[in-house]
């Protein structure tokens, strides 16, 4: 019985946990609840993935209303993979959270922070699991609103401005999404993804469907921070509390990429999107622009968190590049990069968060010589940085390998070259941090700091280890990603 209800429990448990955290409003109770729920989330998502890999898609009828009339939760390989990704990151962050949150947030706000974290988890898991376009919008709003709050809780006053900026752009994105869904509903008379995909074939030549595609593309691109719609992202990541930055950077944009994949491949269908429209060219140009321009901007940042945030924009470029290439290897590259970038960037932001906790600042100058005082943390940063660059033996290499192979197969050898060339920009900005942190004399402020506590180091190193282990043996991650890509491309292969 419990196995049948796993899709509902995946979303309901964090939701109930969030309300309980808010009701009790005590930080000592809130953290254990959040930790327990994150761990349960992993168990559920792994069980779902195992079920899907063994027995094909699972359909769950909310409230007993049969799809397509009721809300359907539909788990296939693609979103089971996303569910595992989100819940794994959530569970790795929670042991890290209490010390970092205690250092950065006022005591009376900490319970609310965990409430918002759990709501965000609810929203992201819900977006990933639902098979209903409007339900996805509701969860998109739940995750967005809670992330605005989490960002605004940052102790820097600029956090408020960053949250406001994200609020405006995020709301525009969500509005575009709902306009697109509304147009599709008007044309097909359904909100269920599977049903919509079947009915859209009859009306796809209409202008309304084209407009819907345009609205959805722009709306979701805003949420996933596709260049040049990324302007909300650097400030949001830079000024949010460290734990929120880690969680948002590792999961929020990834789930938006998933939604993008779902609409492009499962609903509109790759043939419609790519054969009849110039979307391939648009996506490729914007992706390459993201890879280069955002990386170059990252080089000139004097704040580590902002630098990593711009690097995220560049990395999102790789993901959309794979969507633009749209063959099996390219799409596998996109999907495997969702996971690979999540663990890499999560490890980097965790290492920076540990430094922020000890030093109290995250500008580059403040980090001079920190490698000598916090060697374990910064060693983690270096290894994760190598993965960001894409050095063989790390997960970054695996993603770029698939992307380059995909580009080569599609005849765009220039793209393969650009993927490699942009990696050199990552060498520069990661190298800058390494140079300042390891090769400079510690400043007065840094000289007195100690290594980060174990509760911060262990989660950081779990992600660092993941970015090496899955880089050396990519059979599992790339295998699942390839099955997901096959499922998405089923229409055109």
């Amino acid at each position: 019985m419990i196995l049948d209800n796993l899709p509902a429990l995946q979303v309901v448990i964090p939701l109930v946990g969030a309300t309980i955290c808010a009701l009790i409003d005590r930080r000592r109770v809130a953290w254990p609840i959040a930790l327990a729920i994150s761990l349960v989330g992993i168990v559920i998502s792994v069980a779902l993935l195992a079920q899907v890999l063994a027995g094909g898609p699972i359909s769950y009828a909310m409230g007993g209303w049969a799809p397509p009339y009721g809300i359907e939760y539909r788990v296939d390989v693609v979103n089971a993979y996303i569910l595992v990704l989100v819940s794994v990151i959530g569970a790795v962050i929670m042991p890290y959270a209490p010390r970092s949150v205690a250092a950065e947030l006022a005591e009376n706000k900490q319970a609310w922070f965990y409430t918002m974290y759990l709501l965000n988890l609810t929203g992201l898991l819900g977006m990933a699991i639902t098979g209903d376009a409007f339900n996805a919008f509701v969860f998109l709003e739940i995750s967005s609103l809670s992330s605005y709050v989490m960002i605004a809780l940052g102790r820097d006053r600029r956090a408020l401005l960053a949250a406001y900026q994200y609020l405006i752009l995020g709301t525009i994105g969500a509005t575009f999404y709902v306009i697109g869904v509304g147009l599709l509903y008007a044309m097909t008379g359904t909100l269920n993804f599977v049903d919509m995909a079947e009915r859209i074939v009859d009306v796809e030549s209409s202008r309304s469907v084209l407009a819907a595609l345009a609205f959805l593309t722009v709306g979701i691109s805003l949420k996933l921070a596709l260049f040049p719609l990324h302007v909300w992202l650097p400030n949001a990541y830079a000024y949010a509390p460290s734990v929120a930055t880690v969680f948002l950077a590792s999961t929020a944009t990834k789930v938006a990429v998933y939604l993008f994949l779902r609409f492009f491949f499962s609903i509109f269908g790759a043939r419609f999107v790519y054969a009849d429209l110039p979307l391939t060219e648009i996506l490729l140009v914007l992706s390459v622009a993201a890879m280069f321009i955002a990386s170059i901007i990252a080089i000139f940042q004097d704040d580590v968190k902002r630098m990593l945030a711009y690097s995220s924009v560049a990395q999102i470029g790789y993901m959309t590049l794979g969507i633009g290439i749209a063959n099996l290897n390219g799409l596998t590259g996109t999907i495997v990069h969702l996971f690979n970038h999540a663990v890499t960037k999560g490890a980097l932001f965790m290492a920076v968060g540990a430094v922020v906790m000890r030093v109290g600042r995250h500008d580059l100058e403040g980090l001079a010589g920190i490698g000598r005082r916090m060697p374990v943390t910064m060693a983690g940063f270096v290894i994760a940085g190598l993965s960001l660059i894409g050095v063989p033996g790390t997960v970054g290499f695996v993603s770029k390998w698939y992307l380059a192979a995909g580009a080569f197969e599609s005849g765009a050898w220039l793209l393969s070259f650009l993927i490699m060339a942009s990696s050199f920009l990552a060498v520069v900005y990661v190298g800058r941090v390494v140079e300042i942190a390891w090769f400079r004399e510690p400043t007065q402020a840094v000289a007195s700091v100690e290594e980060a506590p174990l509760s911060l180091i262990i989660p950081t190193w779990v992600l660092v280890a993941a970015s090496v282990v899955f880089g050396l043996d990519a059979a599992f991650t790339a295998g699942v990603a390839e099955r997901a890509a096959e499922a998405l491309l089923a229409g055109i292969l």
Binding site: A8, A22, G63, G64
Partner: protein, 138 residues
């Protein structure tokens, strides 16, 4: 002599009717237009009217901030709790059929319970927003 005596007396007279009307809208929602959201807004409007006429302190005494802060998550918890109850009774999440002895009674009971959750959350949220703005600069 205060000039707003008419306003004060009329609003005092209105308040119970507003609350009863909120309940009417609430329960009418099971069958037709209405429901927890609209009723919640009316309940909150009644308290806000009271605050405007008799001052924020009087309203805070009637409905303290702590109560409002509890109402917001409590409503969601009631809603989700109904879903969990149907899970525990062996059906899908929010499947009301198992809550009562036959289909119609069970569906009505389920809708009524979740709408009470909506009422609690919406009125709590409205008041929380009002208090946050009204309390600025204090």
């Amino acid at each position: 002599m205060r000039l707003d005596v008419i306003l004060r007396v009329i609003s005092k007279l209105l308040l119970p009717f507003m609350l009863v009307f909120a309940l009417y809208v609430q329960f009418h929602g099971d069958y037709g237009p209405g429901g927890g959201f609209q009723a919640g807004v009316i309940v909150a409007a009644a308290v806000i009217l009271y605050a405007i006429m008799f001052g924020l302190d009087a309203a805070l005494e009637a409905v303290p901030v702590r109560v409002v802060e509890i109402m917001v998550p409590l409503g969601v918890l009631i809603y989700a709790g109904v879903g969990v109850a149907s899970l525990l009774l062996g059906a899908n999440f929010l499947d009301y059929d198992v809550l009562g002895h036959d289909h119609h009674h069970a569906q009505e009971l389920g809708v009524m319970l979740v709408e009470i959750g909506v009422l609690v959350s919406v009125s709590g949220t409205m008041l929380a927003i009002f208090y946050a703005f009204a309390g600025r600069g204090r």
